[in-house]
Subunit: 242 residues, 2 copies
């Protein structure tokens, strides 16, 4: 499986993805699930992926091809030319569902299907920040002030911490802590989510990557944060009276 989470805050967007893929328990590999399309200052679109690797890789490759290699690329096919982030989400949704159909057709003789979902975070110069969750069927929902985060993959373990500490006013520093602790809970409880992690911050109106960091297994800062959180939970637990 996978765990990816995106936050849409007043100050910017924070995105985190794991890198574990598996075909069965005995075939585990590391693949990046965070993909950036950027023209600094003009537009940034970051995509997080969950689901069948053949679907997500082909979808990302088609999106890339529609930008760079296709002489007929325009705002209806290229996510770097689409006039709004809504239309970016629609292009990604259409591409995802087209790829899903093609691959599921191939798999149908095996009575199998392949699906994927995506989180899309983006902003273009002059527009607002937008954060979408694209479903396997190509339709999508958008983060709002009521629920400023979106998750794909193994979302349940890491939801309680987000429900408690994240709102639109959360600072970008606290937001990074929140998504990392949400991931930490998921990593501890589910083997199908694994290090390394990819963490990205996009500051409001910058329309470019604010910071991007790969956190490797054994990263001392992440380990220290994880230990401190465990200790805080145990301390808090001890102080609670029944």
């Amino acid at each position: 499986m996978t765990y990816c989470v995106g936050l849409l805050l007043n100050d910017g967007m924070v995105l985190l993805s794991d890198t574990r893929t598996n075909a069965g328990l005995d075939n585990i590999a590391t693949y990046r699930k965070m993909f950036v399309f950027e023209e600094p200052g003009e537009r940034i679109v970051t995509i997080l992926t969950a689901g069948s690797l053949s679907v997500t890789q082909t979808t990302i490759a088609r999106l890339q091809e529609a930008i760079s290699d296709n002489p007929g690329a325009d705002g209806t096919t290229s996510i770097m030319q689409a006039p709004t982030m809504l239309q970016v989400a629609e292009i990604i949704g259409r591409t995802l569902v087209q790829v899903t159909r093609e691959i599921s057709d191939k798999l149908s003789t095996m009575k199998q299907a392949a699906t994927a979902s995506m989180i899309v975070a983006g902003q273009r110069a002059g527009g607002g920040m937008r954060l979408f969750l694209i479903y396997p069927e190509g339709n999508f929902i958008e983060a709002t002030a009521d629920t400023p985060y979106l998750q794909i993959g193994e979302h349940k373990y890491g939801k309680p911490i987000l429900d408690r500490v994240v709102n639109m006013e959360t600072s970008l520093v606290d937001a990074q802590k929140a998504v990392l602790l949400s991931m930490d809970s998921t990593l501890r409880s589910n083997l199908s989510v694994g290090m390394p992690l990819d963490l990205m911050v996009i500051e409001k109106d910058a329309c470019k990557i604010g910071s991007q960091r790969r956190i490797e297994a054994g990263d001392p800062d992440f380990a220290a944060m994880s230990d401190a959180w465990s200790q805080a939970l145990r301390d808090g637990f001890r102080r609670i009276t029944l």
Copy 2:
């Protein structure tokens, strides 16, 4: 859905279940999911249930009938006469799978199936405490020192806290806190799990209910504990440095 959890500790067993059932989101009701079969000092068997209500109710009713109404009841059919807790688990598993088959046969014309799973906690005089998870297919697993808890239903939200604070040495008081906080995280993040709750403690070798408590929505102690835990999480979160 449902969330039920059972802990097997050196000092005894702690069991907690919610009471929400739903047929779709627009048909929600409250049903007890904790059932006790007790001959104090000789034997206690507590069953927690998750899944299709028609399956769980019929299974419990059959188990009850096999104890009380059946003149031919013996150790192969009555969970109050079975010579070991392993055989209790086997009777429950057999009954569950029989009921599941009968009901799924009825549903097959609608292309539907009904399933359920159960946690069984028990001890008989002279035997050890045993805690089983019975799968819908009737087979089962047992809690051990490595993993002294079992969960059924919506288990993911409340797993991180158990993974962090529970082991065989956990006291019965701390164990009650742990299952209640595990439930609290689940209640906050998933509407299909709901108050009131049923909490039971079975002390080691007592072979009877140690304490049993229904925690209603708005219970001031539970609300205070929930608030204190939220505060502890937020305080802990604030102290963590990235």
